[in-house]
Each structure stands twice: as C-alpha cells, then as structure tokens.
C-alpha cells in the first residue's frame, strides 16, 4: 500500500506531468476556441472548461479528453507536490518557490470564480433604476407575495431543482412557509407560447387556450427562453394550473386560501446592496460611421440614503460592496437617431476579484528574485575569472 501511495505521489509531483497538463490546457483552449464556430460561448465554457471529462468530435471520430476543470485540479496538486514539497528549499530555489505559490494562487482564484461568483447584467434606460441584476443564462422560479410597505417575500427555486422535469412527471417543491406546494413539469429550455386551435393536436397540456411549443436551442445560450407548466396544489388538494414562460410580461398570479401569490419563471436575480440609477448614457461614434468609439454611463449609486454620482465606462468599472459593474453594451442596435437607448452593465460578484492581480505580483516577485540571483551568480563567476 505504501509503495502504491509513493508511486502515485511521484507521478503527481513529476515535471513530466506538469508538461502534459500544460499541453492539455493549451489543447483544450484551442479546441474550445474552434468549437465556438458551432456552439455558443456558454456551451463551450461548460463543455471544455467547467467539466471534468468531455468527448470531442472530429467528424465521426470521438476523442475522450479530460476537462479543463480536472486538468487544473491536477495541476494544482502537481504544483503543490512538485513545486513546493519536492523542490529543494534553498536560496537558489527561493524565486521558483515563490513563482509556484503565485501560480497556485491563480488556480485558487479561478476555483473561487468558478464556484462562488455570480455574473449577470443590469440593463437600464435613462431615468430607470434597480437594485437587482439578472443572470444571462440561469433560470429560477420565484414564488412570491407582497408584504406591507412594498416589500416582497420570495421563495426561490434554482434551475437544478426543476430542469430535469422535462416530461409530465413533475418536480414537486414545497416549503413549510408556503400554504401550498408547487409542481413544475414539461420544462423546455427554449420554447414559445402559442394559442391552441382545433386544427392541430399538441402533446403538452393546453391551459387557458395556450400551450408551449419547444424550439431548437440557440447557439448563444442567452437567446434561449425557457418555459414550464406549473401547478399550485393548495389545502384540500385544490389544484390550479398555469403556464410559465421566461419572457412573459408578468408573473402567473394564483389565489390560495384568500391570499394572492405570484409564480414567475425568470433569469436568476441577485440583489445588490445599493441602487443604481442611470442618469445619462453617452455614445460617441467614429466620424462619419455608426461604429461606437466610446460609450459610458453616468449613474447615481444610492446606499443608505446617501447618493453619489459615478461614471462607468470601458475599463473603468464601478467597484463597490464586492460587486464590479462594467460597461458592457448598449441598445437597441437598430435604434434610429434620437431614439432612447439602454445601457447594459455587466455585473460580477467575485470574492476573488483581486486575487489574480496579487498572484501576478507574487509571480513577478518570484521571477525577479530568481533571475536576480542568476545574474548575480553569473557576475560573481565572471568576476572570479
């Protein structure tokens, strides 16, 4: 047993494994980039970079590969074992040791980003304000009702809890605080609601004259609009059925035991600790073209009744309370001159936001240390001649 563990340790800490892993990372990056011709960014990220295993297809040939997630995990172990534990510790190797630490920091930052960050967008027309931002891809079902004072109590069901209910068998969701349980079925990642006529049959339920028609998945995942059938089963088994759709103009409203509840299928919403109001959106164009050269958003950030003006523009994000708001895009793209424009701010909550910067500094210090020592050694040997 000890020899097996020792053998595994030697393999995991070897320089050869480092080379293989780095080549695999380069290969995955290359294949993932090529795959974006056929699939959108979101799908490629999931398949090549957030997975442990994948199968890449070249024509009719299927090639199993480790995902970047697995490769980076092993690389982290390899760096720890090989670079830090096995490395001879002396002043000669101090710089290399620091560089290894920096790379480990980078991997830790990517791990935190992958598993503990929230990414979305905040889209506002001038004069609008909001204190939540929305995911680009992830869906949730929010069951809510209004409380006195304009507050809202919401019970949130993440996509994982109902996305498997693709057929009539429902995902049943309950809470002790709810006077009913919710059933979600026929989840469709991309669909549209249509009125049902007698000239055709459909394989899904028809509710209030409407049914959901599934659509082919779009290449860019953010263009998909999910839908599902919902049923609220109240006290005594009273059952009310409705249709949910991601682009609906308002939530499905249902009365249970004399109280009005809303059920809403929407992109995941993340609250912000402050309110952002878009005061002015500015778009400058290259001379005699419609190509924007620069666009920026003048916003007012209000927190605890204290308001302050902030200008958000390319490469000048707003950082506050662990959130980073970047100027991402604007629209509508086909707006005529004089039409109101909206500004889209990309919002990221990443606890490791600054960690890559610190990692790069550590790596730079390590390299400086290492090469300074080498130069000094060379100069000393030259002087001895």
């Amino acid at each position: 047993m000890r020899s097996i563990v020792k053998g595994i340790g030697q393999v995991l800490s070897s320089f050869g494994l480092s080379c293989v892993l780095l080549i695999l990372l380069a290969l995955l990056t290359w294949l993932g980039t090529l795959e974006q011709v056929h699939s959108g960014l979101f799908e490629v990220q999931k398949k090549y970079f957030e997975s442990f295993f994948l199968v890449h297809h070249i024509g009719s040939v299927s090639i199993p590969l480790p995902g970047a997630n697995l490769v980076m995990c092993v690389l982290g172990v390899n760096l720890l074992l090989g670079g830090i534990i096995r490395l001879r510790r002396s002043w000669d190797t101090a710089g290399v040791l620091v560089v290894h630490l920096g790379i480990v920091l980078l991997l830790v930052a990517s791990f935190i980003k992958a598993y503990h960050s929230q990414e979305g967008h905040l889209t506002l027309y001038e004069g609008q304000r909001a204190n939540v931002y929305e995911s680009y891809y992830r869906w949730e079902v929010a069951v809510g009702h209004t409380l006195p004072g304009g507050r809202v109590q919401e019970f949130l069901v993440p996509q994982e809890d109902f996305a498997q209910a693709r057929g009539p068998a429902p995902a049943v969701l309950e809470s002790e605080s709810l006077p009913f349980h919710l059933e979600l079925s026929h989840f469709m990642p991309n669909c549209r609601p249509l009125p049902k006529g007698p000239m055709f049959d459909v394989a899904v339920p028809v509710i209030d004259g409407f049914f959901l028609q599934t659509q082919a998945l779009q290449k860019e995942a953010e263009q998909n609009v999910a839908g599902a059938y919902a049923a609220v089963v109240g006290p005594g088994g009273t059952r009310t059925e409705g249709v949910l759709w991601g682009l609906e103009s308002g939530p499905w409203t249902v009365d249970v035991a004399g109280e009005s509840w809303t059920v809403d299928l929407r992109h995941e919403r993340y609250p912000m600790p402050f309110t952002v109001a878009l005061d002015v959106f500015t778009k400058e164009e290259h001379p005699r073209t419609n190509m924007p050269s620069k666009f920026s958003s003048d916003v007012t950030v209000t927190e605890d009744d204290v308001a302050r003006p902030v200008k958000i523009e390319m490469n000048q994000p707003l950082r506050d309370e662990g959130l980073v708001l970047y100027q991402a895009s604007w629209g509508p793209s086909n707006a005529a001159p004089g039409d109101p424009l909206f500004s889209t701010l990309s919002v990221v909550r990443n606890p490791a936001d600054q960690l890559p910067l610190y990692a790069c500094i550590v790596i730079a210090v390590g390299l400086l240390l290492h090469f300074s020592r080498k130069v000094l050694g060379y100069m000393q040997s030259e002087a001895r001649r």
Partner: protein
C-alpha cells in the same frame, strides 16, 4: 490495492450517497427565501395568460370607432382567446381545446354566401350545395341581422386541408350585406358542438355595437380591455389604391390590383396569365414564424422543408424598416384550393414586425415569375406603414 481497501472505498461511496441531501424523485424543499424591497419597474401581477404572453394586442390598435366597438355576452364556461386579423372575436368553447368559435367580419361580400358555405362543406368533407338549397336554409340572428345558419357534420380537414378529424361538427352563421360579410363559426367534436349550439346562437344574437365592455356576468371591470377589435381586414378594402390594413406600397408597372380577397391586404394580377398573382397578407403575432411558413410554401411547391442552416442562408432584403427573408421555390404549385400550376415558381418574402407578420407571395408560371423578380423585390421594399 489491498483487499481491505476495496470495501473501504465502497463504504465511502455509500456514505456519500447516503449524505446526499435530496431524494431525486421526491419532493424538494425550497431553501432560498428572501424578503426585500424591489426598486424600479417590475411586471405587474394579475395579468391574464394572453396578456402575459403578449397576445392581447396583435395588431396596431384602432379606435373603437374604427372597430365598430363590438360587444357580446360570453356564454358560461367559454373562454375568450386572443384576436387576430381574421378573428374579431375568438373563443375557446367550454374549455375544450378541440372546440373553438370565432367571428370574422370582412368588407365587401367576402366571396358571397354560396362560396363560403361550400368552402365550409369542403372542410367537412361534404359535397358542394347550390343556391336553391341555401334559399330554404334556416336563419338566425347575427349582429342584429338575419344570417344563414348551417349545421354540418363530417370529417374536419382543417383550414389547410391537411388534418383529418372524424366525428366533427360545424355550426356557422353567414350574413352578407350592407358592405360587409359576417361569419360566425363554431367547430369541434360533434357531441361538444351539439351541447353548445344554443349557447352559440345566444352569443350570435348578443353581438352588438357601441358598448365599452362585455357582459361576462362576473362583475369584472372591463376584462376585454386591450383586445384588438380593429378588424384589420376591414378598413383596407375601402382604402384608396396603394394602401390597406395600415400598409402602403408602390404598384409596379404591369401589376393590376384585383378585387379584395379574404385574408389579403391586397392582391395583384401580373400580366394576362390568370395563374400568376402576387398578394400581401398581414397576420397578428408571428403567425407561426418565417421558418414554418417558408417550409409550408415549399410544401405547396412539392419541395422538402429547409434545414435551419439552409433557412439562415436565404436572401434578406430591407422591408418595412427591418429585414425580410426572401425565398424562391420551383416546382408544381398546389394551392389552398387544390389548384395546380405545373412548372411554377414561387417568390415569397416574410417580414416580422413587433406586432404582426407580413407575407408577400408571388406565384405563377416560372418564366413570368422570373421576369417579375425585380418588380417583386422593388414592391416589397416599397411597402410602408401608416398608409
């Protein structure tokens, strides 16, 4: 690996599975709960299903004067459905998704009584009837006027003739006069229609003009607010040449506008060939979308459906301030009325506006269509709104 290691690993896996927090098939507990104060504009609760899905305003809104301000008494258990350009009132009968009822009002004669009765008879798989039989048919009240009552039972083949449902029944009222053609039609399984025939007649008699809301007997405040009553097929037929249904255009040389036809904003004859025509149809919403309609056109020409990639590669032109998909199909044309045109060519353009879809279709002998291609494109690009 020692013999002790395997049970140890198996135990670990079993333990991990046992620690799994949720049973995959059983009820799940909603864990995330939050109370917060939303800031900004959020969608209001309490909307109807049609309103939530954007189906209540299918076409540009007309004033009540334009629409004639129709109102009616909704039969018990019936549901109002979204209106469309050809359905000024639209209902689901007693919650039965196979049974529907709708009112269509057209300017002019809409083809006349006999043609429409025979069209309905054909949809039910029945032989045509004649004027003499119609003269002795019963009458009932529709929009305050006597209307011809038909009651047909047979195999419902659908509007496009590609469905086949046995045991269906069609009850309809037709009235032509005063510059309008009015049709109220209920179709569905025979037993359901028999059950609801009296409700249908009561509904027909209740249609009236002028009031602001419908009597649902529920005490709801204006539940029909937002339902489009423009009857977009109506106003265009009386409009000056070059505009109809809120559309305007420039007529190419050699094209001649024909008499108004149901469902069409305008129809043109091209040259002297009676088999060649070009027409414009405006429908609310997406009307199935460009992809489905282009493949339907290809089916009419005996061609297979396009793939997504083939559809994406189709020509696009500017039309009505947006992009329209243009398709050209060669083959043998089988029209809605089973009319055949050998060696035919079909040129079509589909344009999706925010509230409506516009279809322009040129069909005829191949040589004539080929020579009219540039006129077709120019015509499509000349289309404007607000005519």
């Amino acid at each position: 690996m020692s013999t002790k290691t395997v049970p140890f690993l198996v135990g670990l896996i079993v333990l991990a599975a046992a620690c799994s927090d949720q049973d995959a098939s059983g009820p799940r507990t909603i864990r995330a709960e939050r109370t917060w104060t939303p800031v900004g504009k959020f969608a209001p609760p309490g909307l109807s299903t049609a309103e939530r899905f954007g189906y209540t305003r299918n076409l540009p809104q007309a004033t009540e004067e334009d629409a004639g301000g129709l109102t009616w008494n909704l039969p018990d258990g019936w549901t109002e459905l979204p209106t469309s350009s050809m359905r000024q009132a639209n209902f689901l009968v007693l919650g039965d998704e196979r049974a529907e009822c709708y009112l269509t009002v057209l300017s002019g004669e809409g083809g006349g009584l006999l043609a429409n009765v025979n069209r309905w008879r054909k949809q039910m798989g029945l032989e045509p009837t004649d004027e003499q039989t119609l003269a002795s048919a019963p009458r009932a009240t529709l929009l305050g006027e006597p209307a011809l009552l038909v009651d047909l039972e047979g195999t419902w083949s659908g509007m496009s003739g590609d469905a086949a449902s046995d045991g269906y029944r069609l009850v309809g009222l037709l009235a032509v006069g005063g510059g309008q053609a009015r049709f109220l039609k209920m179709i569905g399984p025979a037993e359901r229609i028999a059950d609801q025939k009296l409700a249908f007649l009561a509904l027909a008699a209740s249609f009236r003009e002028g009031a602001a809301a419908h009597d649902h007997g529920t005490g709801e405040a204006d539940p029909h607010a937002g339902v489009d009553m423009s009857g977009a097929g109506i106003s265009g037929f009386g409009a000056p040449s070059g505009s109809a249904e809120g559309l305007s255009w420039t007529t190419p040389a050699g094209w001649h506008e024909t008499d108004p036809r149901p469902m069409r904003a305008v129809t043109f004859e091209i040259g002297a060939d009676p088999k060649a025509e070009c027409y414009v149809v405006q429908l609310g919403g997406t009307a199935g979308g460009a992809f489905a309609n282009i493949n339907r056109w290809r089916g009419q020409m005996g061609q297979s459906a396009l793939s997504d990639a083939e559809f994406q590669s189709l020509e696009r032109i500017s039309m009505l301030g947006t992009q329209a998909v243009v398709v050209e199909v060669l083959g043998t044309y089988t029209g809605m009325g089973d009319d055949l045109v050998e060696q035919a060519s079909l040129l079509g353009a589909v344009c999706q506006l925010p509230q409506a879809a516009i279809f322009v279709k040129l069909i005829g002998p191949r040589e004539l269509v080929d020579s009219s291609r540039q006129d077709f494109i120019t015509f499509c690009q000349s289309l404007g709104q607000g005519g």
